[in-house]
Symmetry: C2
Amino acid sequence: MLDTRPSLHTSLSPSLLHLYDVNSSIVVIIDVFRATSTIATVLYNGASFVIPVETVEECIQIGEQTGGITAGERDGQVAEGLKYGNSPFEYPPDFIKGNTLVLTTTNGTRLLHMALEKNARSVITGSFGNLSAVCDYLVAQKQNVILGCAAWKNRINLEDTLFAGAIIHKIRDHFSINCDSSQIAASLYNEAKDDLFEFIKAKNASHYHRLQGFGLERDMRYCLTIDNTNLLIIYEDGKLVVRNG
Amino acid sequence: MLDTRPSLHTSLSPSLLHLYDVNSSIVVIIDVFRATSTIATVLYNGASFVIPVETVEECIQIGEQTGGITAGERDGQVAEGLKYGNSPFEYPPDFIKGNTLVLTTTNGTRLLHMALEKNARSVITGSFGNLSAVCDYLVAQKQNVILGCAAWKNRINLEDTLFAGAIIHKIRDHFSINCDSSQIAASLYNEAKDDLFEFIKAKNASHYHRLQGFGLERDMRYCLTIDNTNLLIIYEDGKLVVRNG
């Protein structure tokens, strides 16, 4: 029987993205700790939009041009010349509402620009905070999908793999999945789903150790919470904006 | 407390090998379906050595120079100009004993040559058939280790990931493992270990579908059997040879 469902693939590292047909696909950018979680939070809390940029220099320049709030970290600290960091807790509604954020992150924004350069059909951002909105959109679009994990300096990480698995867990019946990376992600999520934080802690995830060092356990627990910032976020004309699914 | 154990990392695809310090490490080449399983079988059945080569042309040329048996497949069929294929069942003792095999495969031999080009400290081949020999060697050497999965045209696959997980499962206490890919492989193996074949079949592994099409279920079951060709196989001067651990 002919399977007419769209395909779904998972790219577990930006170094693997070139293996997939980006230009016929919706690409979901996944950077759970913490870029895409913070982007969802900022927009949920009322920001007008987020401008994702690759470099600190660009961030400063575009901040000056637009009057946006500049943010980004390098090696776990606010980058020199920028005002704020990557933590979702830095952006409560009374601070961010009606403002724009210009954000640079090491892994997430780089992957986003890779997907754009390869002419992705569309680019959305995904995090546990907007899991359901992402899934609803992917099912409704009926297009091929690539789940793009930002990873850590191209090394595969647990948390982005787990989020890819969470998506697959919810929408697998709507897609033709002939992709071992997707099976691996779904298996991992199935093992971890009862307590994502404890799973990551037990597995000694590299991010856990790094972020823990900066006292960011609170960020991690927040970034592993499902649907608390449940909006569809799509890239349009240089900006990440909220869209109705 | 200072952790003085050597490191262990897993590279789930040749496209990720550059992320790891190959030149300070022993690299285990893993190509479960079927290159490294067949190499172990051929040597277990008495071949003098195996010469792994990248191209069909090289295979023919070196076969002529050495009088070795030429073997290799492209797209699941014996490559034009070669005599035999990748199946371990093609090499019973009465055929292969005392002979040499010149073997080209798409993924495994390419990864092996990548590891050599990056000056790996040493290169060994791993398969479920020689799992224990591989583990004993790695523990005894007390050197950094990279588990190198050959994957399928750079796409991560279940069977090589599972074998990396099987190694980690046995030797993790001897190594410092700060590597999420290794944690993912170990988790996957833990889920699959009671019946590797059924696990792969249930997950619709891309290899399962491809190999099934050529009626090779027997090969797959064989290649997932632990320690039936339990020899240490190491690369020396252009040849894969048996060594005492």
